[in-house]
């Protein structure tokens, strides 16, 4: 028995030795390769940390439960474009948004893009600076994903974008605040480890009709030839809060109409046709004359009864 056990042990040792050897080889190989850089590298890999990465913005992009495929795809697109983002599983929010602060802080992020969908059709985007605000709430309109649009442009995954803003952003204080927030969220920090060392696309934000229009262009040539990449969306400003997902209101957009109200008004407008018809019917009944034409009453003597009726 002892011998057997011994033999077993020795086998195990041998195995361990083999394992060690193999491990050693594994460990050794990258050291050997260090002199020659690998020919290809996945963009997900983290580059060497020896750099002056000072602007450490990290954005958490996630959503509530019950968002439609559109929101999901746009989130995916944004994550592909922005290397300084992190993702979170969908969250179910019943009562208060204050949980979000904790979620964001747990993921070590200081900015948040939070998608919230109501009634499976109205998409809201919360943009926030997490520990101490502000938070901006937008209604997202005209949403198109990168996959859906037949746009010819393409850019490196995780390259740094130029941010182009409309001049109207500097004219009013709320737009100015939003501009700063947008630059901090959408701008990829210099030397961000996952980012590519090129600037090959432009994110343009312009204000038309009191809404922010988002476009993404590839820089095709140095002279300014561009090709659109996608995604596209329009942000309709609703309100700005002082703190992150709490605090007092700093601004409310007077031109903002809630989508519910908009739908109701549209319905009312559509029902106007029916109402008009009914009104016209009532009006006709009211103005209808009781007599078709006036006649002399004495003429009634000439109206004779039929023989059968006369007998009765």
């Amino acid at each position: 028995m002892k011998r057997k056990v011994d033999s077993d042990d020795s086998k195990q040792r041998k195995n361990k030795k083999r394992m060690k050897n193999s491990r050693n080889i594994d460990i050794d190989s990258p050291a050997e390769k260090l002199s020659v850089l690998p020919a290809t590298r996945s963009s997900e890999d983290v580059q060497s940390m020896k750099c002056n990465w000072t602007n450490k913005q990290k954005v958490l992009i996630f959503s509530t439960r019950g968002v439609s495929y559109l929101a999901r795809h746009v989130m995916k697109n944004l994550r592909a474009l922005m290397p300084h983002t992190k993702s979170e599983p969908k969250i179910e929010i019943r009562k208060s948004f204050s949980i979000l602060n904790e979620v964001v802080e747990l993921r070590n992020c200081n900015k948040v893009l939070f998608f919230d969908m109501k009634k499976k059709k109205d998409l809201y985007l919360w943009m926030g600076n997490v520990p101490d605000g502000p938070t901006v709430k937008f209604l997202v309109e005209n949403l198109h994903t990168m996959e859906e649009l037949k746009l010819t442009g393409n850019c490196l995954k995780g390259s740094r974008p130029l941010l182009s803003f409309d001049e109207k952003f500097d004219k009013e204080s709320h737009w100015k605040l939003i501009k700063e927030l947008l630059t901090q969220i959408f701008g990829t920090p210099y030397h961000q480890p996952k980012s590519q060392p090129f600037v090959d696309h432009v994110l343009s934000f312009s204000i038309i009709d009191n809404k922010i229009w988002f476009r993404n262009y590839q820089i095709v040539e140095e002279n300014g030839a561009l090709a659109e990449i996608g995604p596209r969306f329009v942000l309709n400003l609703h309100c700005i809060f002082e703190k992150s997902f709490c605090g007092m209101l700093l601004y409310e957009n007077p031109q903002y109409i809630a989508p519910n109200l908009k739908r109701r008004l549209a319905k009312m407008k559509a029902s106007q046709k029916y109402k008009e018809r009914i009104y016209s019917k009532v009006a006709f009944d009211q103005t209808k004359p009781k007599e078709s034409y006036t006649y002399d009453k004495t003429d009634e003597i000439f109206q004779t009864k039929l023989a059968e009726n006369a007998e009765e």
């Binding site: 592909a80 474009l81 130029l162 590519q196 060392p197 090959d200 262009y217 561009l226």
Partner: protein, 308 residues
């Protein structure tokens, strides 16, 4: 926080209440005659909307990240001015007209690029990746392939549609020409009928007119045209297959109206009512006998020999 909650949760119930109240109001208004179809009553906001500029500015200074431009890469600029400057001026319909709007965005982004590229070069940040730098792209190759296919398909589609449109135009033009020709013929016919009427009445003008109108035709009939081909074309289209078959097998005349009664057939007395009818049995026999050159029987032939 409380603000947000109340904002989000009470929205629906508020609206229902509002709609009920509004209904009552509307009914009253209708009774009093204030309400007429097409008249909208504007709603007034419940409380003045908040626009706290001081706090916004304070928040901005608090949020502002004072970093060198190479970290931020933000540019604020007006869209690039060009020949299409009017596009930018007409601000009202921008949101609705796709082309103008997209042009504006494009120009804005272009302006940003033209502004920023020199700065980037100064800061030694590369804008173009070298050709041998391979990295994952935002859109996959598969997706780009799909886009290319889509573009090619669309191009061919447009070309095809244009072709079809041209054909259709040609066809409509051809129809017009045909109609004109038909009208001309009709006119000629009516003219001829008129002149014929005049002739019947015995007017000399009629004869002259007829000669005038027929003059060309007479010439045409008398002098066969030099170009025989043109005449062929003006006639019915020829069926080349049929022509070939006729050439090969010959054409034994029209088969049409062959079985119809003619003067001769109706004048025939007795016999067959129909020339296609089979002759009666006896008639057939009789015919047989007549037709055969009667060869005498054996005994008769021997007798004939003996006589000689």
């Amino acid at each position: 926080m409380s603000d947000i909650e109340s904002d989000n949760q009470d929205g629906d119930s508020d609206e229902e209440m509002d709609s009920e109240q509004e209904d009552l109001e509307l009914q009253q208004a209708l009774k009093e005659g204030r309400l007429q179809p097409g008249l909208n009553i504007e709603e007034k906001p419940k409380r003045p909307l908040i626009n706290n500029k001081k706090a916004l500015d304070a928040k901005y200074t608090e949020l502002y990240l004072n970093l060198p431009w190479t970290e931020r890469l933000d540019c604020t600029n007006a869209p690039l001015s060009s020949k299409d400057a009017e596009i930018i001026e007409n601000n009202e319909d921008l949101a609705d007209s796709d082309f103008k709007r997209e042009m504006l965005f494009y120009r804005q982004a272009q302006a940003a690029v033209i502004d920023a590229l020199p700065k980037l070069k100064k800061a030694n940040i590369s804008t173009k990746r070298p050709d041998d730098y391979y990295a994952q792209m935002a859109k996959s190759d598969e997706h780009m392939k799909k886009i290319r296919e889509y573009l090619v398909n669309r191009k061919t589609d447009i070309e095809r549609r244009e072709k079809v449109r041209k054909l259709r135009e040609l066809r409509t033009f051809g129809k017009k020409v045909q109609q004109e020709v038909l009208q001309k013929r009709q006119e000629e016919k009516t003219q001829l009928l008129k002149t014929m009427k005049k002739i019947r009445k015995g007017k000399k003008e009629g004869v002259r007119e007829l000669e005038e109108s027929l003059g060309d035709r007479k010439k045409r009939v008398m002098q066969p045209t030099k170009n025989g081909k043109q005449d062929m074309n003006s006639k019915k289209r020829k069926n080349s297959r049929l022509e070939y078959k006729n050439k090969k097998f010959g054409f034994g005349g029209k088969k049409r109206n062959m079985k119809k009664n003619t003067a001769e057939s109706s004048a025939e007395i007795g016999g067959k009512s129909n020339k296609w009818e089979r002759p009666s049995f006896h008639a057939q026999k009789a015919k047989k006998g007549k037709n055969k050159q009667a060869r005498p029987g054996k005994t008769n032939r021997q007798k004939m020999k003996a006589r000689k």
